[in-house]
Amino acid sequence: MTFQDLILTLQRHWAAQGCILAQAYDVEVGAGTMAPTTFLRALGPEPWNVAYVQPSRRPADGRFGENPNRLFQHHQFQVILKPSPKDVQSLYLESLRAIGIDPLEHDLRFVEDDWEAPTLGAWGLGWEVWCDGMEITQFTYFQQCGGFECRPVSAELTYGLERIAMYLQNVENIFDVEWVRGVTYGEVFHRNEVEMSTYAFRASDPAVLFGLFETYEKECTRLLGQGLPLPAYEAALKCSHTFNLLDARGAISVTERAGFIKRVRDNARACAEAYLKVRAALGFPLVKTGWTVGQQPPLLEGAPASKSWESFGAEPKS
């Protein structure tokens, strides 16, 4: 199965379940979680079911295209299912069958892994999914996002596309993965790795980056002041990426690091709150669609968690 067929097969599988196929977010992010299609949509009572490929940039992981397992930019296949369906594990396992991972031929395991993103004020519980001892997916039930309780809970599935493709194609080097017949991953992206790594570790100008960080940070605050959480969040993402570039460049000392992370987190939290206010003012419009994926059994005990947003107003609930 080529890299491209892998993507297409996953897309078809999740589209068939009723997910929107979104396109990759066009601002630099370190993970699919950071795209507003996950981070913001996981907030509040509205249903949301989406699948997309997210190019994810991690400057510190850049290896100049010389390491067979590590990349400056890799690709995540990201799925968000909100509320998390009762049969989400089965839906996920069916997607593995679709890409040729038969659970009777491989040792598939859900191994505890607690996920936390300090720059997003987000955490969740779930697993790394192991295929024959190898992690192929991060599977998380979001509990908090931007400092807000997730009610309802979103299930997040993050497939590591390169790693799965290497396994399916039985190659030892990312760059040997076949993208389409006759064209390798290396032929598409090797030069990108060389240049981007060079930029991250050698060519970037810390003075410029520090300036950008300040600028985007202020821009985020300014836009929030004008009630525009979506462009404000883009500025927050740019801050986060700039921080990652500075970190890779070794321009941030150990003692300063926590302070920068807090600045990014504070912005992300403020965006989350502003986003919720806007959605509340709009009356959380997606609620009335009743849009769900998979099995959603009736509750037998207590009120639905999403009801707790009915009283959400100007005050943050966290």
Binding site: D107, R109, F110
Partner: protein, 701 residues
């Protein structure tokens, strides 16, 4: 009539480590619920896998018996007016119980006299009681981390998928979040998909086994052990004992199959600890050692699915390990490009604790303190080795390998020290200074590591106590309890005779300079830290003697830990003897008199000229003799002899109290008798504070 009760909570994969404790809780909660509902029952057993927690209780009765209990009403005072007529409180209570006031009885309670009535509660059918019992149990299980799912408000360690409640053949209706109980269970996720009805609780274990689930924890662990051992034998080796790994793997699988894999021989030149860590820490593979204890290029993975073609999945296990070993080799090669000593300056950028500074500063204090300790234990010839080991002790913290595997700190320091041409004794001390890591760990076999390790721990203890951050009951982020016990084990295990108080003072001097503390603050930290040692020693020695005896011995001092332990053991030998408690009682009496009457009596020796009775003279002579003997024996490390000498005073003391009245009219004579008793008390002072011995706890008083 009775029938077996089965309750199974089916879940998505629970975290390894949470499974067995949760099943034990479930059992305890169900049994407590049955007892609370007065439903008699037989034995109970648990089943626990990553996907299920279950308890099977034999012979749960189908009806609780009738029972009478006393319903308590108003107090008699409030129940009757001055004219003796019942008040509203009395009539209302009688009404609520469906009885006449005349039927109420007066009963005595700790709070006074109350009105009461015997109420007969009719037994109830189990079918009415069990839903509550099982419902409370599933809601009552506690987890370290809980999560919600979907749109539910309830939480569990992972989402609950099904509930199975059966009393005999009857379903017990229970509801949790979005799940309603039934008689269905589920077998292995892949090998036996789909619901499986359970006709009767007794069928459950067999049914699960046919559905490829070995639900009994002990049986599953044993199967893993057997399979892993057999696989290792096929490779011509054995698997080292690692109970924690075995426990983890047991909680990761329902139907274990061991798979033997290989890695490239060229990785065998990595330190064995690195190889073992790479296999066990993340992958949970079992390493295989040759008969000499060296790693073989083999590993054993435990699969949850007996796959159709083991070679296919083995490709995956091997691939992951290969990439991890390649990473490890990369770190090992990169790390060795820098001599270990050149890494020391980098510690200036690694914060140990905010106010106490960086690791570089800690290393500076460790070196000074380790030198002082080396002199204190009389090994000045080791000063150079100890100082070098202290300098390098933390240098491996900046290496890539320790960044990846923090558990390898010390071990990597040793490897990199050897690679940098450091003397073997220095290298070994770097690894040893983390020993003992836990209670069951040995102390280092050589002094340099022990001395550096003691300095490291004392610096940590002194630093956090000087900062006013002792551990709380629930939180001990710097591992101070372990550090404290570490110091004790090092002193006792290495046979060091040094003053604990002085060692603590040396450590406090170091952190005091960093924090700018004055003598009063240091004295306070000293007192608090020694109290902390006292508490840890009490806990540590709880299995050597009765708690009050441990306290009595510690009260006489523990500056020299060997002497304190020897005194404790001497007391532990005699504390059960029939004459010990009378001895304690007699000396308590002595201590009481000295304590109460001695305040105004100037401290000086008793004057023989003021003795009026032969028993006084005899006691004075015996006390002086015993005091000499106690000191001589203690100096010779003969605690039993010291104790025997002190015990010899029992006769003269008894004779004294029989013949002499301490509180005589004559002030001079009286004071002199108090002085004599003070001398007697002082005989025991270096051994134990007998006032703390509980006389009642012993034999006949």
């Amino acid at each position: 009539m009775s029938a077996d009760l089965l309750f199974e909570v089916g879940t998505e994969e629970l975290p390894a480590g949470a499974v067995e404790p949760a099943a034990e809780q479930l059992k305890a909660l169900v049994l407590a619920g049955l007892d609370g509902a007065r439903l008699g029952h037989g034995a109970a057993r648990t089943f626990a896998t990553p996907r299920r927690l279950a308890v099977l209780v034999e012979s749960v009765v189908d009806r609780s018996p009738d029972a009478t209990r006393q319903a308590l009403g108003p107090s008699v005072k409030a129940a009757f007016g001055p004219d003796g007529a019942p008040t509203k409180a009395a009539t209302r209570f009688a009404e609520s119980q469906g009885a006449a006031v005349s039927a109420l009885r007066k009963v005595q309670t700790p709070r006074g006299e109350y009105l009461a009535i015997e109420v007969t509660e009719a037994g109830r059918p189990a079918s009415a009681l069990l839903p509550g019992v099982l419902g409370a149990a599933v809601h009552g299980i506690e987890f370290k981390k809980r999560m919600r799912w979907g749109d539910v408000e309830q939480s569990f360690a992972r989402p609950v998928q099904w509930l199975l409640g059966l009393h005999g053949e009857e379903v017990v209706p229970v509801v949790f979040a979005d799940v309603r109980s039934g008689r269905m269970t589920f077998g292995h996720r892949f090998l036996s998909p789909g619901p499986q009805p359970v006709a009767h609780p007794r069928d459950y274990p067999g049914l699960l086994e046919r559905a490829h689930v070995l639900a009994d924890v002990a049986a599953r662990k044993e199967r893993i052990r057997v399979e892993v051992t057999a696989a290792a034998a096929r490779a011509g080796g054995r698997v080292p004992e690692d109970p924690a790994l075995l426990d983890q793997v047991t909680e990761l699988v329902e139907w274990p199959t061991a798979v033997l894999g290989s890695f490239e021989e060229r990785h065998l030149d990595l330190p064995p600890e690195v190889l073992v860590q790479e296999m066990t820490s993340h992958q949970r593979y079992f390493p295989v050692l040759d008969p000499a204890g060296r790693p073989l290029p083999r590993f054993i993975a435990v699969s949850n699915t007996p796959v159709r073609d083991p070679a296919l999945s083995l490709r995956g296990y091997e691939r992951v390990l290969r990439s991890r070993l390649t990473d490890g080799r990369f770190f090992f090669d990169e790390d060795r490009k820098v001599p270990l000593v050149d890494r020391v300056p980098a510690l200036e950028r690694v914060v140990w604790q905010g106010k106490l500074g960086t690791y570089a500063e800690k290393v500076g204090r460790i070196r000074l303190l380790a030198a002082a300790l080396t002199r204190a234990v009389g090994r000045p010839e080791l000063l150079a080795v100890v100082d070098r080991a202290g300098l390098l002790a933390k240098a491996d913290l900046t290496t890539g390998m320790v960044g990846e595997f923090p558990e390898l700190q010390g071990v990597m320091g040793r490897e990199y020290a050897l690679a940098s041409g450091e003397p073997p004794a220095v290298a070994q001390a770097i690894a040893d200074h983390y020993l003992p890591r836990g209670a069951s760990d040995p102390v280092p076999a050589d002094d340099p590591g022990a001395l550096v390790g003691m300095a490291d721990r004392l610096d940590t203890l002194a630093g956090l106590f000087a900062l006013g951050k002792p551990p709380s009951a629930s939180a001990d982020p710097f591992g101070l309890r372990r550090a404290c016990l570490g110091v004790v084990h090092l002193v006792l295990g290495r046979g060091y005779r040094l003053s604990l108080g002085e060692a603590v003072d040396r450590a406090l001097e170091g952190v005091g300079r960093k924090l700018g503390l004055g003598p009063a603050q240091l004295a306070e930290a000293h007192a608090l830290l020694l109290e902390f040692f006292r508490g840890r020693l009490k806990a540590l020695w709880a299995d050597r003697a009765r708690a009050d005896v441990v306290e009595a011995v510690l009260a006489a001092g523990f500056d020299d830990l060997h002497s304190a332990r020897a005194r404790l053991d001497a007391f532990a030998q005699v504390v059960g003897a029939p004459d010990f408690t009378p001895l304690a009682v007699a000396f308590k009496r002595v201590a009481n008199i000295v304590d109460k009457q001695g305040r105004d009596v100037a401290a000086q020796a008793a004057d023989p000229r003021l003795f009026q009775e032969a028993s006084e003279t005899a006691l004075a002579e015996a006390a002086r003799h015993a005091a000499t003997e106690v000191h001589r024996a203690l100096a010779a490390d003969d605690a039993p002899a010291a104790l025997a000498a002190a015990r010899g005073l029992k006769g003269p003391v008894d004779a004294f109290f029989e013949k002499v009245l301490v509180m005589t009219e004559d002030r001079a004579v009286r004071d002199n008798r108090v002085r004599l008793l003070r001398e007697v008390a002082q005989v025991f002072a270096p051994l134990a504070d007998l006032a703390r011995i509980q006389a009642e706890a012993g034999g006949t008083p």
